[in-house]
Amino acid sequence: MSDNTNHKEVSYLEYQGKYRGILGWILSTDHKRIGLLYLYTMLLFFSIAAILGLLMKTQLIAPGETIMGPQTYNSFFTLHGIIMIFIIVVPGLPAVFGNFFLPIMIGAKDVAFPRINLLSWWLYIIGILIVLTSQFTGGGPPDTGWTFYAPYSFQTPTNVLPAVFGAFVMGFSSILTGINFVVTIHRMRAPGMKWLRMPLFPWTLYGTAWIQILATPVIGITLMLIIAERMLGIGFFDPALGGDPILYQHLFWIYSHPAVYIMILPAMGVISEIIPVFSRKSIFGYRAIVLSTMAIAFVGYFVWGHHMFTSGMSGRALFTFSFLTFLVAIPSAIKVFNWVATMHKGSLHLHTPFFWALSFLFVFMIGGLTGLVLGALATNVHLHDTHFVVAHFHFIVFGGTGFAFMGAVHYWFPKMFGRMYDANWANLGWGIFFIGFLSLYLPMFFLGMSGMPRRYYDYLPEFHGMNILSSMGAWVMISGILIIFANLIRSARSGPKTTEKNPWGGKTLEWQVDTPPTLENFDEIPAVDKTPYDYRDYAENTNS
């Protein structure tokens, strides 16, 4: 330990390291500062991609061209997808809250490889910059969609190369984060924190990290093949040279389906943290949640074919992929059951993070059940490539991961910034967001059912009514986001200061350290002797 004890009290926000000012942040190896670097980057790019989405919905407010033509629309949904998937939701919760809270929650001073952690962020930024160059150079913004499907991705004159290469670089960043987290969890848990005493957010990060390690290389090499196809005409996916475009789809989804679990598993972890705290009750079925987390991570590898039911596969393969898809729904359902059972007879404390968790349950159920509609072979043929898929996807990835992300921000905000946000504005923002979200995406299910395809800038007149509702919802939701962001940004800068260690009554280790945490998190590494959500004392106190 260092001998200058006066430094002990300084928080990580004020700590003066080797570098000053902005360099003290972008060259910092402190896991907390890196988490915030990711948060700010994501805030910026989420805003950009959300505005792109808003403009697309505005285009769809009436049939025909309203504010943009087909080529602009195509490049908008491509950029919206690339940003939202590769820059926001895939790194999302692990990079921001995993970095910030994983070490604290398992009682460590930092991650296992702090410098590689910083390298991850830099690779992420470099990847983003490369993707951005695709917008302003060469043959114009890419128009392939975020899936880069062959053969179009090497035939289009637009500037696909930098977009693909940028995604490749961000894949490296993701792999390094995954390696870091797995090693951290194996090697750096506090004394006494056995595997089954680890909180559930770290558990989901563990499952996620394994997926990052074992699936991301597949997309890496697949994107390299697209690059080789465009630059050298190597022929693997080009039917004119004997290649098979369907093989591209297989390789792409072998990564990109597990990637969906990279997105949703940490979200489930956040919800598993929030619900017991605001119910003042031990989590119901801790072991079941742990097991279902690992089961999702495992089975999630074998369901990629359900993205390709109409691409051409043998009947047996279709049946198998459909069956496995239904199988993977079971552990998710177990979790939902456990969360609801945790609230049962709990002492519910209605604060903003809990509202986000409750609305997560609601939208996640809709998203999950419509996923089964798509996983069934007969209905899939009808709904494939329609707005139904768009709605399902946004219910899971935006409704699931997005709501959990907002919940996590509001849950951990006081700990991260040492300030409190205005609860009334936060709740108002949540309400408006929630209403906007539902009116934006629910109509898309009906549009898809009646046959409106996705990725078109135009539609038939009979879809007009539902589209008006959906586009209005987009504007409402954006207003909600504006309120939430304004409140959070204002509060982070000048909200009322707090040094209260445990504002919500949490039981996990992050609520035992200083607010905001010191550079090394703990003066002394704590010893852990019980399960993470032990609220028996609360029950005893209220009964007596």
Partner: protein, 198 residues
Amino acid sequence: MTIHRDDLADKFGMWLFIFTELLLFGMLFVVYAVYRSMHPEAFRIAGEELDVALGTINTVILLISSATVAMSITAIQKGDKKRCLQLLSITLLIAVIFMVNKYFEWGAKFEYGFYPGSDALAELGHGTILFFGLYFFMTGIHALHILIGIGLFIYVMLQVKKNKIHQTDYIWLENTGLYWHLVDLIWIFLFPLFYLIH
């Protein structure tokens, strides 16, 4: 702030990285398997175009280099810095020889007009195009790994020289060795798949 050191964690991280490399090449092996099963005859004929002698030499020297890097770790464990540097120099030399051989091998193919997108390949049909596409792509990615290995060996040798890597702290050398064995292992699979199966 105390410097946290955990060699086991470092090695664990390296093994996880090796998993990612195996999956990366694994997917290429899948692509190979798919196209080989679609064009078995063309792949057989195209495979005979490759220079088995050069391939064999590269395989043998790469195996030797795996042995020398393993021996260099033993040397540093015994505190024999000079022997360690000698063994690493041999490894580095072999890596360079491997690349020189590769240069001649690829150069000969280019001379025949066998490269992705060439007219000579286009005349020979789909199977041949795919075979040489896979050959150049997979051995190319492998060669890239050899180049990275060369960089790593130079770095490690400098660290040994400066006594940054020594008898009680040699995790960099050990992890570089692990990486090199991986590069070797992948070649062990590439060699028969392209050169030997007829």
